[in-house]
């Protein structure tokens, strides 16, 4: 990459992708790592145990049918097991209580013993006895959609890098990229699997309200989550940086931290843009090469179709096509596919022209003369010659896709789940005054689009 601007663009884009990939670790209301005790759960169990004991006592006192008493006893046993599970009492003591309970099972006269046995459990469970949870709450709360996205982003980053270099990677590097994606997924899944599922309950809200007590904790840089609402702080401008946990970029109408939403939305926006570019590349390349190689009526048909699609104003077409989608809340992949479905035309045109040129090249003739099979020539010479130009065209397309998608979501026509994209975030501003809501996403859109445009500009063929 001789051109410093291209290198810079690739670096910036890589940094944005890395930030998007790491967003859950950078901005989250759950800690990265915590040594915590779920006090609330333990308290709940304690309350339930007390209630079950009262129930049993009442059942016995009312001298009702044996079935009622035995139901109450089963309930008591269950409540106790739950409390035991949430405590950190030693195994020996738990076994002792359990065996004693089994002894008292069918003996109403041993009620007093039971009460005395359970008394320490009903008092305020000392903190050391509350069950410890050690691990990563963030990882425990990652869902499958997020995992898929996390796997996709490195692949897309590799595509960006190769486009910047302007040359196709050798075969084995493609396997490296796939291996990288697979190992990313495995690493995340593996890390997640070793977490206790209850860790997902550890977050700033519960820590604040002493429902969870943390002994040791590692918080992310921004301690707000993207979905954490706080109505008392709605529409607040950036400021108050001396407070603990400030909102660096202010909040939106529901008190959600704008910076956190920006970071989490980056993954979706970048994914849509790069996915749209990749799909448009694949589609355009396929159609372009087929047209160039087959010729004849198929070629003419496709050329007319491409001309038509190009003369339709894109936003209008997108608006109409978006009407196809159920409601206005769409998965991000759908938006990407829609954008790609219209944007493949420039790539196809370019590839078709290139294919026609390559077919007639003299070095291809020289190979034909010698009797090298047509299929070999196609795979090894003609097709690879068309890819670099197509890839740069796709990068350019991805750049425009960012802008188009931003416009569509700003207009409110496409709201992605689970996180809104940059455009939608800008649209939530609902007015000029709340600049902290529409300016940062717009700047990020501009930055991403600019980087992709730079990467997508045709590099000159090397001259002798």
């Amino acid at each position: 990459m001789a051109d410093p601007l291209r290198s810079l663009a690739a670096c910036v884009l890589g940094a944005l992708l890395a930030l998007a990939w790491l967003a859950p670790l950078v901005a989250n209301d759950k800690p990265l790592w915590a040594d915590a005790r779920d006090v609330q759960a333990a308290q709940l169990a304690q309350v339930e145990l007390g209630a079950a004991l009262d129930q049993y006592r009442t059942a016995l006192a009312a001298d009702a049918a044996a079935t009622q008493a035995s139901t109450a006893w089963t309930e008591l046993e269950r409540a106790w097991e739950q409390a035991a599970a949430r405590s950190s009492a030693p195994e020996s003591e738990v076994a002792r209580v359990r065996s004693t309970m089994t002894d008292c099972a069918k003996r109403p006269e041993r009620l007093v013993d039971v009460q005395r046995l359970l008394a320490p459990w009903l008092e305020n469970l000392e903190l050391p006895r509350v069950r410890r949870m050690v691990g990563s709450p963030v990882l425990a709360s990652v869902d499958s959609g997020a995992l898929l996205r996390l796997a996709l982003l490195p692949v897309l980053a590799c595509l960006v890098f190769w486009t910047a270099r302007g040359r196709l990677p050798d075969g084995h590097r493609l396997w490296w990229a796939l291996g990288l994606a697979a190992s990313t997924v495995l690493v995340w899944v593996g890390l997640q699997a070793v977490q206790q599922p209850e860790l997902a309950r550890v977050d700033t809200y519960r820590v604040e309200r002493a429902q969870v007590h943390v002994d040791r904790v590692l918080w992310p840089l921004v301690q707000h989550g993207p979905a954490q609402t706080q109505l008392s702080e709605a529409w607040s401008a950036p400021g108050g940086y001396t407070r603990p946990n400030p909102h660096w970029l202010g909040t939106d109408g529901l008190g959600r931290d704008a910076l956190s939403r920006l970071l989490h939305g980056s993954a979706i926006s970048l994914e849509i843009a790069l996915l749209a570019g990749a799909v448009a590349l694949a589609l355009g390349w396929l159609i372009g090469t087929t047209c160039g190689l087959l010729g004849g009526w198929f070629d003419t048909l496709c050329v007319r179709l491409m001309e038509t699609l190009a003369s339709i104003p894109f936003l209008f077409l997108a608006i109409v096509v978006l009407a196809l989608v159920r409601g206005r809340v769409v998965p991000s992949v759908t938006v990407a596919l829609l954008v790609a479905a219209v944007a493949w035309v420039p790539v196809a045109r370019l590839v078709r022209a290139q294919t026609l040129v390559e077919r007639a090249r003299e070095h291809v003739q020289a190979l034909r003369v010698v009797g090298i099979p047509e299929g070999w020539i196609l795979l090894r010479h003609i097709l690879p010659a068309t890819l670099p130009a197509a890839a740069t065209a796709a990068a350019f397309l991805a750049g425009s896709a960012v802008g188009v998608e931003a416009a569509l979501s700003w207009l409110g026509l496409a709201t992605t789940i689970p996180q809104p994209t940059w455009g939608a975030l800008a649209g939530e501003a609902g007015g000029l005054e709340r600049w902290w809501l529409w300016l940062p996403p717009s700047l990020l859109v501009a930055l991403t689009c600019a980087c992709l445009l730079v990467l997508g500009e045709r590099r000159e063929e090397p001259r002798s």
Binding site: T308, P313, F316, I319, V320, A407
Partner: protein, 358 residues
């Protein structure tokens, strides 16, 4: 000369004949496939509609062929015959409204507001959008050329190279900034909350202090800027790159050998070469301008074609969407054909083929 005009018109007609039916088909199909019950939105019983001003659900469906086959819907949308029960006699109607469709330039009435004729509303809204798009087009063309020449000259001067790099990057960011952000920035800087040089909403002031046309123009300044600045940045960058590439051509060197300064050589020799591909770009810019107008109209609260289409899609009004999309496609085709023609006429090499006198 007139033969060329005839050929041009023929080419235009052919392109229209291919493009427009395809656009109509896409719109009709999209609406057929879209989920949600259209009639529930527009007929009696829908929110805010009284019995007198809306038709019953049954009649609404008949009126607008909602249950008809796709071919019937398509033919009705394309025209020129009206295929509804009140349509042309040849197709089973009672003849009250024989004409309908694009070919008849008759689109019926709005589904949500049956007293409004779409054609009238279109004409009125076009009066907003057309000056906007045209103004942006002209401004872009006028500003892009000098900026690009200046940029090209600057980047070849020994010390100007870094300034040129900076300016080029600034233009790149301007180009990459999404339309709504640019519009909002302009309003923030130059509008009522900023320096208050220009108004930020609507087309007319309540108490105009200027004559009507000037007042209109004053209101259009910010929207036109918002629409054209991105395009100017893009064109200027593109043009200056082309100019610099052209400077390495042999005939540029020859021109310098004839005593022209670098600026003169760029202006007199390189610019005419760089223009044709750019004019071709302009042909494709018209659809982009129409698209960009959608966002600009929303920001500046202008009642134009773009916002008309957006509202119509949200309200699921097929007639309006059809009318606006096909109009946009027709205009786009005109732009593209004119651009091709202009490019052809600028390059003498393509005029009569290669006739050698040797």
């Amino acid at each position: 000369m007139s033969a060329r005009l005839v050929r041009l018109l023929l080419r235009l007609l052919v392109r229209w004949a291919i493009t427009v039916p395809l656009v109509v088909l896409i719109v009709v199909l999209a609406f057929r496939l879209a989920p949600g019950d259209v009639r529930a939105l527009h007929s009696e019983g829908a929110e805010g509609r009284t019995a007198t001003e809306s038709l019953s659900s049954q009649r609404f469906a008949e009126e607008h062929l909602l249950d008809a086959s796709v071919w019937r819907q398509y033919a009705h949308a394309l025209g020129p015959f009206d295929l509804s029960p009140r349509g042309h006699r040849w197709f089973g109607g009672d003849g009250t409204r024989p004409w309908h469709g694009l070919l008849a330039l008759e689109f019926g009435t709005e589904w949500s507001r049956p007293q409004v004729r779409i054609r009238d509303e279109l004409a009125q809204r076009a009066l907003t959008t057309v000056p906007l798009a045209l103004g942006a087009f002209v401004v872009a063309l006028l500003l892009a050329l000098p900026v690009s020449v200046w940029l090209a000259l600057l980047s070849t001067a020994p010390r100007g190279r870094y300034v040129a790099r900076l300016v080029s990057t600034f233009l790149l960011l301007l180009d990459a900034l999404p339309g709504f952000a640019l519009a909002l920035l302009l309003v923030a800087l130059l509008g009522p909350q900023g320096t208050n040089w220009f108004p930020a909403t609507g087309l007319d002031s309540r108490e105009p202090q200027l004559p009507f046309l000037l007042d209109r123009a004053w209101h259009l300044v910010l929207p036109v800027l918002a629409l054209s600045l991105g395009g100017i940045a893009h064109l200027a960058r593109q043009l200056s790159t082309n100019l610099l590439q052209l400077e390495r051509e042999e005939w540029m060197r020859a021109a310098r050998a004839n005593g022209l300064t670098r600026a003169q050589a760029l202006r007199r020799h390189a610019l005419p070469h760089a223009l044709p591909p750019l004019i071709g770009l302009f042909g494709g810019a018209l659809p982009a301008l129409v698209s960009g107008a959608v966002v600009v109209e929303t920001v500046f609260a202008l009642q134009g074609l773009g916002s008309y289409a957006t509202e119509a899609v949200l309200a699921r009004d097929l007639s309006i969407v059809l009318a606006t999309c096909t109009l946009a496609a027709v205009v786009a085709v005109v732009g593209s054909v004119l651009a091709d023609e202009l490019v052809r006429s600028l390059d003498p090499r393509s005029r009569q083929g290669d006739v050698t006198h040797g």
